[in-house]
């Protein structure tokens, strides 16, 4: 499976970087845009191709593995790329969301578009690398690579409150990143493997697990570190603010893909490597996740600003991912991964459309909107679909539904009563989702909106906005209809690398 | 009453402390600078005393270097003080606090 003519994984990271470099070196705008298509397109194509080539039953194996020395072999750091059943779906999702975000950015006509695209490409490279890295150091590294352009883009191209938002976001995320970095270093140190390689670590720790107290500390670090990055309640306040201020493509990539870093880290690294620590923290994690679902859910209800609302909604939904992780089972983790893919696609779609709405209404205040569906029925249809997807309605949100269902199943298996508040979130999200659709699109146009309309033509969703939306939607629905396309290899991988987790759970249940 | 190494060292210590105290007390930059010189000299006493009592030459040679360096330092330092005085017409340290916070 590794007889590809070129190392496509590296290519998928290097292409956006190379394009970014070319733009930085002063390519004229016309060519820069053409090249940007390549920069966003190649990773997506590679992601889809690799996905099609991915073995159905990889078990714990990684496919497409390649390794490059970067000079720190002495520390056990090597740029090792590869995909397993857990990272493959996310890698593909990253490619597709990246393509959509890129296409949306190219057409956005942002001021100083070249620099914007350049930063976005760097971010995209980081995202691809994050999921393709087997080495946990590079896993972290690529995450940060993607994170930094976010800050600058929020600051330069952001909306209201961009300065404060960018600052708050960056400081929060740095705290999270630092905690998780220390957690990762701790794994490296305490495992005795003297390696950052996930495979080596896993093999080593399977034979000689760390002491329970060490595991507890490490998982705590990772949990809170990743938790901050993924806006776990109550460390979430940066997220709605940041997403509210960020330009659309950044929100798409950040909320859609980058944020999955933490959950992915918990599923891929934390649970298999420090299962005993996870045991200790799981109840706490579950409670906090419920905080996300219920408290943030209710707070979302109180939002007037559409983009803030979408931001809160995305924060609320990651609670499901955490809940899945907290179940400490193949089922929960699998559900979390399915959910991550679904959430990534649907939330980025929502952010995309939110911005398109803004272009037409000139405001994010839902009280000032109304009746947009008459002017822009296609936009309305897309937005409704996106909202329904994000609230997990089977149909457009079938994949979200599979994810949620799997997580609920796992939750019930883990702690029966918890399924009630968890499922309650579904109702809450339906309420705010439909309320938003109703306020923005339906009903008669408000006075403010009528004023805004005067003297300008409110056009429907243009094709260059439509195409990225369609890309996301088709992927989301396609995967929803046939979830086995990702779940088979996912399940195979989880079954293979989770024996320690499962054994522990069974052991405790048996007591 | 014999004079031992202890006495030399204490003399050095006392001079060093007086120098330090002077640096803290005085506001005239020139006097502060003199006090600093005194501190250097106190250090040389230690070196010379040890050199004498340990029977090694290094301390004495070191003093040679210290004196040279101190002379150079004084030259540069006084040049700075003079230049500063020309610009600001004062060398009182409490008036030389344009750089702060």
């Amino acid at each position: 499976m590794n007889n590809l003519p070129v190392d496509l994984l590296l290519l998928s990271i290097a292409t956006p970087l190379a394009v970014a470099l070319a733009i930085a070196l002063g390519l004229p705008k016309r060519h820069a845009i053409k090249l940007a298509y390549v920069g966003f397109g190649v990773p997506a194509v590679i992601a889809c191709y690799l996905w099609s080539q991915f073995p159905a039953n990889p078990g714990a194996e990684y496919a497409f593995m390649t390794s490059y020395a970067t000079g720190l072999e002495g520390l056990g750091i090597k740029l090792t790329l590869g995909l397993n059943g857990i990272s493959m779906p996310l890698f593909m999702m990253a490619g597709i969301v990246g393509l959509a975000a890129g296409l949306y950015a190219i057409q956005s006509g942002a001021e100083r578009l070249k620099i914007y695209l350049m930063l976005l490409l760097v971010m995209h490279a980081g995202l691809m690398g994050m999921f393709a890295s087997i080495d946990i150091f590079f896993f972290y590294f690529f995450h940060e690579l993607a994170l930094i352009p976010t800050f600058i883009m929020v600051g330069i191209w952001g909306g209201r409150d961009r300065g404060y938002a960018a600052m708050k976001m960056t400081i929060y995320l740095t705290v999270g990143a630092m905690l998780s970095l220390i957690g990762l270093i701790a794994i490296y140190m305490k495992s005795g493997a003297e390696s950052f390689d996930m495979i080596t670590l896993r093999n080593e720790l399977l034979m000689n697990p760390m002491r329970d107290s060490t595991q507890t500390t490490i998982f705590g670090l990772l949990m809170f570190g990743f938790g901050i990055l993924v806006s776990l309640w109550p460390f979430h306040t940066w997220a709605p603010l940041g997403y509210g201020a960020a330009p659309s493509s950044v929100s798409m990539l950040h909320a859609g893909v980058l944020k999955k870093f933490g959950l992915y880290g918990l599923v891929q690294i934390a649970l298999p490597l420090v299962p005993a620590g996870a045991m200790e923290w799981a109840p706490m994690l579950a409670w906090l996740a419920l905080g996300n679902i219920i408290i943030i859910g209710l707070i979302t209800l109180a939002q007037r600003d559409l983009k803030q609302m979408v931001g809160y909604a995305s924060v609320m939904h990651v609670g499901y991912g955490f809940l899945g992780v907290a179940c400490l089972s193949v089922l929960g983790a699998g559900g979390a991964v399915l959910f991550m893919v679904a959430h990534g696609l649907s939330v980025s779609l929502l952010f995309l459309l939110t911005t398109s709405i803004h272009h037409r209404t000139g405001t994010f205040d839902m009280d000032q909107m109304g009746g947009l569906a008459q002017k822009a029925p296609v936009l309305a249809a897309f937005f409704l679909t996106a909202v329904l997807a994000s609230i997990g309605l089977p149909g457009p949100g079938l994949l979200n539904f599979w994810g949620e269902l799997t997580i609920f199943m796992a939750v019930y298996d883990h702690a029966q009563w918890m399924v009630v508040p968890a499922v309650l979130g579904v109702v809450i999200s339906a309420i705010y989702g439909l309320r938003a659709v109703g306020r923005v699109f339906y009903g008669p146009a408000t006075e403010a909106f009528q004023c805004h309309q005067q003297g300008r033509v409110i056009e429907d969703l243009r094709w260059n906005e439509r195409i990225p939306a369609i890309i996301l939607l088709v992927t989301l629905i396609g995967l929803g209809i046939w979830p086995k396309a990702i779940s088979t290899s996912l399940n195979s991988a989880l079954e293979a690398i989770y024996p320690a987790v499962e054994a522990l759970t069974v052991h405790v249940a048996g007591q | 009453m014999t004079v031992t190494l202890y006495h030399y060292l204490m003399l050095a210590g006392v001079l060093f402390a007086i120098g330090f105290f002077g640096v803290l007390l005085r506001k005239n930059t020139l006097v502060i600078y003199m006090c600093l010189e005194l501190m250097l000299i106190a250090s040389t006493i230690v070196l010379v005393a040890f050199s004498r009592y340990n029977g090694t030459m290094d301390g004495n040679v070191f003093v040679f270097f210290i004196l040279t360096v101190a002379a150079a330092e004084v030259a540069v330092g006084l040049a700075i003080i003079v230049a500063l005085f020309r610009r600001r017409m004062t060398i009182q340290v409490d008036e030389l606090n344009a750089l702060k916070n």
Partner: protein, 627 residues
Amino acid sequence: MAPTQLAFLLLLTPLASALLTALFFRRSPAVGRALSLAAAAAIVVFSSMLIFATDGFSRSAEWLVIGPLTIELGFLVDDLAKLMLFVVAFVGFLIHVFSVGYMKGDANAARFFGCLSLFMFSMIGLTLADDLIMLFIFWELVGLSSFLLINFYYDRPAAVAASKKAFIVNRIGDFGFLIGIILAYWAFGTITLADIALRLDTSPELVTTTIALLIFCGAVGKSGQLPLHVWLPDAMEGPTPVSALIHAATMVAAGIFLLCRVAVIMTGDALTVILWIGVATALFAGVTALGQRDIKRILAYSTISQLGFMVAAFALGSLLALRSGVDGALAGLAGGAAAAMFHLTTHAFFKALLFLGAGSIIHSSHHEQDIYRLGGLARRMPITFATFTLGTLALVGAPFLSGFFSKDAILLLAYQYDPKVFVLLLIGAFLTSFYMTRLWVITFLGVPRTDHAAHAHENGLTMTIPLIFLAVGAVLAGYTWFYPEALAVVPRFAHGLLEGEGHTLAAVAGTGVFVVGAALGFLLYRPGAREDFLQTRMPALYRTLEQRLFIDALYDWYVAKVQQRFALLLNFLEQIFLSGLIIRGFAGLVGLVGIGARALHVGSLHAYVHWFLLGAVILWAIAAGLF
């Protein structure tokens, strides 16, 4: 063609129509209409093939496997499904035809027909599902299409609010449904209905009861049972064919279908709860209907009431079967399912007829829906009048029309189970007769009260032909010979029930309350009356009824005053405490310390030398072992 393929074809035809319309023909009503109609016709053809040309079958495929969770989705075509499919396909087709006339001239008709096709897709999927998850998926899709159709006139705030309400209230029901499915999976280890039936004894009774009730929650939402009925009257904001198809004939009946599907897991306790909810709904809706003036709302409450009858029928039949010692697995079809499904079928015909009749009236009287602004339509719209009258008679249980048989079966079951229930249901039947008479008298008799009503005239063929066909159904659907062999199982079973003990009494009592109700109606509501009898005589009561016993108000109060305020409070707390006090406060504290640290650079050399002294002293102290 293999049955599975046929089922697929049946399922995907309307989806294809919907997608094509959505993608390419949004702006061409004609094409959308044609596509949708063709799809509806194809559905009739394919479902006929499925019903008549194939035996029952079930086929499923693995859809998702994660760890211990295996989800298989598949088709189950049995007698129940066939009957439901028949109702959906035939009533659906007729309503499509009616819509062609009804939506004539509407610029957004393509959207309407697209959504209608989407609904057909969802409903067929629901009907054919062989497992709880697939049921749930299409269950939700049905809700979605209902949402889309209710807010078809999305520039009307009322329609928007109604659609939102419908969706959310349904979602609340589904909340229970979904938890029920999860519980069922862990209790039985499968979500496939057939397998659940085989593994009933793996789960303790209490758990099974819980599962049954939770799944019933879904039915409560979708079938408008108390206390989640509030959305259904509001849903009348949608175009009338939608009300007929979705909110009378098929979708709302899906709850009943669901109950019948999961009948095997019903336990005595669960059924008792279900029974009383059904009875209460039947009575409540009947009473409330008396206070309504909107023709569609009256029909909507009637629907709720009839759905209450069906739920009660299901519970009664199953309870009786349980009492007589029939095993749980068989209790479903043996008892309640037959009665409930029979009533569902007849109800589908006459209620669709009534709604289409109402639609016909509304269409011809410039969207006038208030019965006190209509009147005297009997002469102006003879076909509508005739068919509507037949429908009314069927609904109120006039002898020898379809409603008579199905309602009789329910009354008989009640009589056999518990006289109390029997009496209550009789009261329900009486109320039906009473309010339908009121509706009929005020709308059709007397003289027109407004210009709109005066200018009303009979509609075109596309609208009248479906009425006639449905009227035929409403008359005949009570007779077993009406049904082709493949569909006759359920009606025959229901007729079998009528042979039971006390059938004469039930029939007589049923007819009696119909007569009394109609007589009272004629007595109190005079043709041509401009004011409602209750409104003038008992304003307080009327107001209570008009306000639907204030249940909607209670919900509105909860949403606006409790839930939203709580949300605002949480938001406030987050902004003030979490973001403000804690985060900003902490940042501010750090900033203060920073300002303090910065302020230490006072610019004075002496101060700096003191730092050195301090440092030297501390270091010295450490060296001397003082620390």
